[in-house]
């Protein structure tokens, strides 16, 4: 009896080893070879920073679609000379932000990291989803399994090479406008409290610690979003920021100071800002950054020639 179980146990272990080997092989085969869509990257703009020169990004901005619509690195460069990159993912999960930040620290050493916190409420932060993301970090096939759709045998011979460059430094530009017709006082006290889900809190803690470990300052941010942000969510993030001793800037509370016009500055009725709205937000944020973090103005620096070129292209594509 014991012998049978031993034999069966050995066979099961051997089977699991072969399976583990196959997982490793398929991970290698399906991992993106490039930060382009064809290379297997879901949203190339998110990791366009990998193509930039080492340690050239001073400000890393991470978050969901609110931030890649509502923050303009080229506007920040043009007005203040600060080098920034916005890495947003639609419906970003807090745990994905952690992975993205780790990728940043592989080639960049941002002095300031800005995290848009809408994702802790709107992202899929369920335990199962977070587990899947974590599993994907260690066994990449869980994360990149969908790349079978783009799989080419020829790509197996290629080494990872990042070639995608985003002229807008990650920003998603929308020039159309659709008026927000909801209440103007969407941030007024409703008395409804909200809590950050535990899984998102855990990921936030890791995010904060990563910044501390790499000597980067962290700013929690909320870009104006009239359809999903509330005073209850603001209070929850504020409480977290206070606990951690991190500055928190909620631009939903100062849309007038920002100069936001909800009839013209939103692309889809109050959820995402358009280019005009992003410019206003970035201008306001630039002043705040200049005042509190004093990053270097790189304009005229030959190491940042690419940024100068990109700004010219950006301005010609989207004249003010």
């Amino acid at each position: 009896m014991k012998k049978t179980w031993l034999k069966s146990g050995t066979r099961a272990a051997a089977f699991l080893c072969v399976f583990a080997l196959l997982l490793a092989l398929s991970s290698w085969a399906l991992e993106p070879r490039d930060n382009t869509a064809a290379g297997g990257t879901a949203r190339p703009e998110t990791c366009g920073f990998r193509t930039l020169g080492r340690n050239t990004v001073d400000i890393a901005v991470i978050g969901n679609s609110n931030v890649f619509n509502g923050f303009s690195p080229m506007e920040l460069w043009g007005k203040y000379g600060f080098s920034s990159y916005v890495s947003g993912e639609p419906w970003q999960q807090a745990e994905s932000a952690v992975i993205l930040l780790k990728q940043y620290f592989e080639t960049q050493s941002p002095k300031l990291v800005i995290l848009e916190t809408d994702e802790v409420f709107t992202g899929n932060n369920s335990r199962a989803a977070v587990l899947a993301t974590k599993a994907g970090e260690y066994v990449p096939v869980f994360r990149y399994h969908n790349n079978w759709k783009k799989f080419r045998l020829s790509s197996l011979a290629k080494r990872p090479h990042y070639s995608y460059h985003s002229v807008a430094m990650g920003e998603f530009i929308q020039t159309t406008a659709r008026e927000y017709s909801g209440p103007a006082d969407y941030m007024s006290a409703s008395g409804k409290s909200e809590e950050i889900p535990q899984e998102a809190l855990d990921s936030l803690d890791v995010f904060v610690q990563l910044c501390r470990d790499h000597g980067a300052q962290l700013l929690l941010l909320n870009v104006p979003c009239a359809t999903s942000w509330t005073d209850g969510r603001h209070a929850a993030v504020q409480a977290y920021a206070d606990r951690q001793g991190i500055p928190y800037l909620d631009l939903n509370l100062c849309t007038k100071k920002v100069g936001l016009d909800w009839s013209a500055d939103t692309a889809d009725g109050g959820t995402h800002l358009n280019l005009k709205g992003a410019e206003k937000v970035t201008d306001y944020l630039g002043q705040y950054i200049e005042e509190h973090y004093h990053p270097k103005d790189h304009r005229g620096d030959s190491a940042y020639a690419l940024w100068q070129e990109d700004e010219q292209t950006f301005q010609s594509n989207y004249p003010a």
Binding site: T4, F15, L22, S26, R127, A128, A129, A132, V141, H145
Partner: protein, 518 residues
């Protein structure tokens, strides 16, 4: 906690199994009870009180039935009356909880509409806070069958309420069934036997197969099914028909897949649960389809609704009445039709509250009754036209006909309401509407051509397995008998296929098992 999640398979099931293996055999059922309580409370803790009520009602009533029958000093007729009264009261109490929680708002709304027609004020306020406890539609049927079986002396009443509680809330059955019977399940449920290595491997294979159906076919198809059904007015003809077929595939893969996970989970603990599917798409008639689809529900309704009704005094009278006026075939059909009406109505109502579900049940009633009524005519016609009803082409025609009826029924089941179903059905018969399928515009809503390919390949694999099983091949035993490289090749292909082609992760939204909503 969904069966198709890492939390269930990787943590809950694994830990439960380890503890189960470490505990002495005699006490193992307590591990199952604790795990089931934990599972239930984790998923539906606020509403656990209703389950507790069902356990207490069924336990005490079963003992009451037995005690009433054992009082030998009482005359037999009185004993019978008492036993029947206890049974009726307990079944009514179990059903009352279900009816109140599941149907109050619908019945109240319908009642108020009737009162409104009579010019009277509404009487039933809508209770938006009413929620359905997890698995109530399943464990209520199990509780009723247990009571009926004790009443019919098919099994003795259980003395230990904890054992009855385990039977009703056993975690592999509580979400989507199968509807287990006390008599056939209790023996293995409380035996505490561990399967041998081969048994464990078979159970794991069944779970993986179920996950394949759920993750590769059902969850992927869900994207396109939602697109077509939620924006049905933008589509017509072939595209709507394609949506109905795809939903039929989705619901089969989802429900049978989750049942595979349930049965595989139970097998890991040495518990044998009844099968719930037997290759339903090989049915020649819709009646046969329902004998192969959700078998345990059909069997429950057959044993506890159809037989009692068709053998009742009133049915006998109806048959006699028919014999005087009709030919023998139709005379026998009369009481059958009466019982069938209630069975189909119950099938419809069991799935949900609303006119749509009633129509769903009656849809199948009309088709199966029409089949029975036209049977003599059909037989005569076939004789006249010299059509061999046992021939392959005729069988293929029957399978295709059943498939059309089933897909049509599924369209009704999935449509938001009866008017929407009617609109969709009309658009199918209006024809055309193939453009979104052909020009690819249908595949731009998060479901691309690659997804279609993966769904088709998964469906093909599922059908192939069904074909083999229909031919009497026991797949797991068959594969286990093959040489090791081939055997491992199949298992590894299934596992790796699941990892690579499964619809999970950021690009997909995890969907709840469809039948968990009933």
């Amino acid at each position: 906690m969904s069966y198709a999640s890492f939390e269930y398979l990787g943590v809950f099931l694994t830990v439960s199994l380890l503890v189960y293996a470490l505990i002495p055999q005699k006490r193992r059922w307590l591990v199952l009870l604790s795990a089931s309580c934990f599972f239930y409370v984790l998923n539906s803790w606020r509403l656990s009180v209703f389950l507790l009520a069902a356990v207490l009602i069924s336990w005490s009533a079963a003992l009451g039935i037995e005690r009433a029958g054992a009082a030998e000093e009482t005359p037999k007729a009185v004993r019978r009356r008492r036993r029947r009264a206890v049974l009726a009261a307990a079944v009514a109490a179990d059903l009352a909880i279900l009816v109140f929680l599941k149907y109050y708002n619908f019945l109240g709304g319908a009642g108020d509409s009737l009162l409104g027609l009579a010019g009277l004020p509404p009487l039933f306020p809508q209770l938006d806070w009413l929620k359905l406890p997890l698995g109530i539609s399943f464990y209520t049927l199990e509780a009723v069958s247990y009571l009926a079986d004790v009443y019919l002396e098919r099994c003795p009443a259980e003395r230990n309420p904890a054992k009855l509680a385990l039977f009703l809330l056993f975690f592999p059955t509580v979400v989507e069934g199968p509807v287990a019977r006390w008599g056939s399940t209790s023996e293995t449920l409380f035996a505490g036997r561990m399967p041998d290595f081969r048994g464990c491997a078979f159970a794991a294979q069944r779970i993986c197969w179920g996950m394949m159906k759920k993750l590769i076919i059902a969850d992927r198809a869900d994207i396109l099914v939602n697109e077509i059904f939620n924006h049905h007015s933008q589509y017509s003809g072939l595209t709507v028909a394609f949506g109905a077929v795809l939903y039929t595939v989705q619901i089969y893969a989802d429900f049978s897949g989750m049942i595979d996970v349930s049965l595989g989970s139970a097998e890991l603990f040495g518990v044998r649960l009844p099968e719930n599917f037997r290759q339903p798409f090989f049915s020649r008639t819709v009646t046969e389809f329902w004998r192969r689809w959700h078998i345990t529900l059909g069997a429950w309704l057959r044993d506890y609704v159809f037989f009692p009704l068709s053998l009742s005094h009133r049915s006998m009278k109806l048959r006699k009445w028919g014999k005087r006026r009709l030919n023998p075939y139709y005379a026998t059909l009369l009481p059958t039709a009466r019982a069938m009406f209630f069975v189909w109505l119950a099938i419809g109502v069991w799935h949900g509250s609303g006119w749509k579900y009633i129509a769903y049940g009656l849809y199948y009633f009309v088709i199966s009754l029409a089949g029975l009524l036209l049977e003599p005519l059909s037989a005569r016609l076939c004789r006249l036209l010299r059509i061999d009803r046992t021939s392959r082409p005729y069988r293929a025609f029957q399978l295709a006909r059943t498939l059309v009826f089933v897909c049509c029924g599924m369209m009704l089941f999935r449509a938001d309401s009866l008017p929407v179903f009617w609109q969709m059905l009309r658009s199918v018969f209006a024809g055309g509407g193939a453009a979104p399928l052909l020009d690819g515009s249908l595949f731009t809503h998060g479901f691309d051509r690659h997804d279609l390919l993966a769904t088709a390949a998964g469906t093909l694999a599922m059908l192939l397995a069904d074909v083999l099983q229909e031919r009497g091949v026991h797949l797991r035993t068959g594969i286990a008998a093959k040489p090791l490289p081939l055997r491992w090749g199949v298992y590894l292909a299934l596992l790796l296929g699941l990892v690579i082609f499964g619809a999970y992760g950021g690009a997909y939204t995890a969907t709840d098992p469809i039948y968990a909503g009933f």
